[in-house]
Symmetry: C2
Subunit: 115 residues, 2 copies
DNA sequence: TCGATACTGAACCACATGGCTCAGTATCAA
DNA sequence: TTGATACTGAGCCATGTGGTTCAGTATCGA
């Protein structure tokens, strides 16, 4: 089951690894926007912005619809729940790991006192 | 202030966008491991694995130390808190956005009933 | 109808990525 | 001392990325 989500995580984390794309997501959180709107705001050519939107769309984070000349972009169906869950699980692992290390250090200190 | 974290987010999300690297993190959550350990488990050459570890190290997610012939890898200082915070903020935006849309739909329905 | 607008696709560029091999170097163990 | 082990670095390859320009096509508005 975990494997089925691996590709989705690959795509969404890759999509999030670019500051422009993170910016686009935040911008779309405040309202839909056309490619031109986004290209203007992020000081980029239409073509360049369209590529970013394509990446976000492939990752399911954005959906677009073209009406007339204008392609309108809006937040997609994915709320990044899987990604959040992964990070939370990781944090848990991290905590456990460092707790274990703490325990080990305590052990060592105790042994040292008795040696 | 947000800008200062942008590069860190770039690096960590990029590091997380590869399934092997996510696997390495989980593996290290269960205990430290050498490059050879990791290369064996993920069926890859030492050189290949070393590159992955390098990416994780650059992102601050892993630290390594070489003792004798063996380089031991362990979880790094970063607990992915910034990344988690970003995703949570995004999810909030997402919720607000879709609540707003819901409101809009309600409005439209109401107007339609009265027309 | 005609100009302006909005996008689209192909093609190019420099550079990064994810893998590999191969040829080292350094260390351990017998 | 010598062989095995563990890594390291250079360099190759195919592919992807983040941007561009340029040449379209489609639509809108006067």
């Amino acid at each position: 089951m975990a494997q089925y989500q691996a590709a989705a995580l690959d795509a969404s984390f890759a999509a999030l690894s670019d500051p422009t794309r993170r910016g686009v997501l935040v911008r779309l959180g405040r309202g839909d926007a056309s490619i031109t709107d986004l290209a203007t705001r992020f000081e980029m050519t239409l073509t360049g912005m369209k590529k970013h939107v394509g990446v976000l769309e492939d990752a399911g984070l954005v959906t677009t619809e073209k009406v007339g000349r204008v392609r309108t972009c809006k937040l997609g169906p994915r709320r990044l729940d899987t990604e959040l869950a992964w990070l939370e699980r990781y944090r848990q692992l991290w905590d456990e790991r460092f707790d274990a290390l703490d325990g080990l250090v305590q052990d060592l200190k105790r042994k040292e006192q008795h040696s």
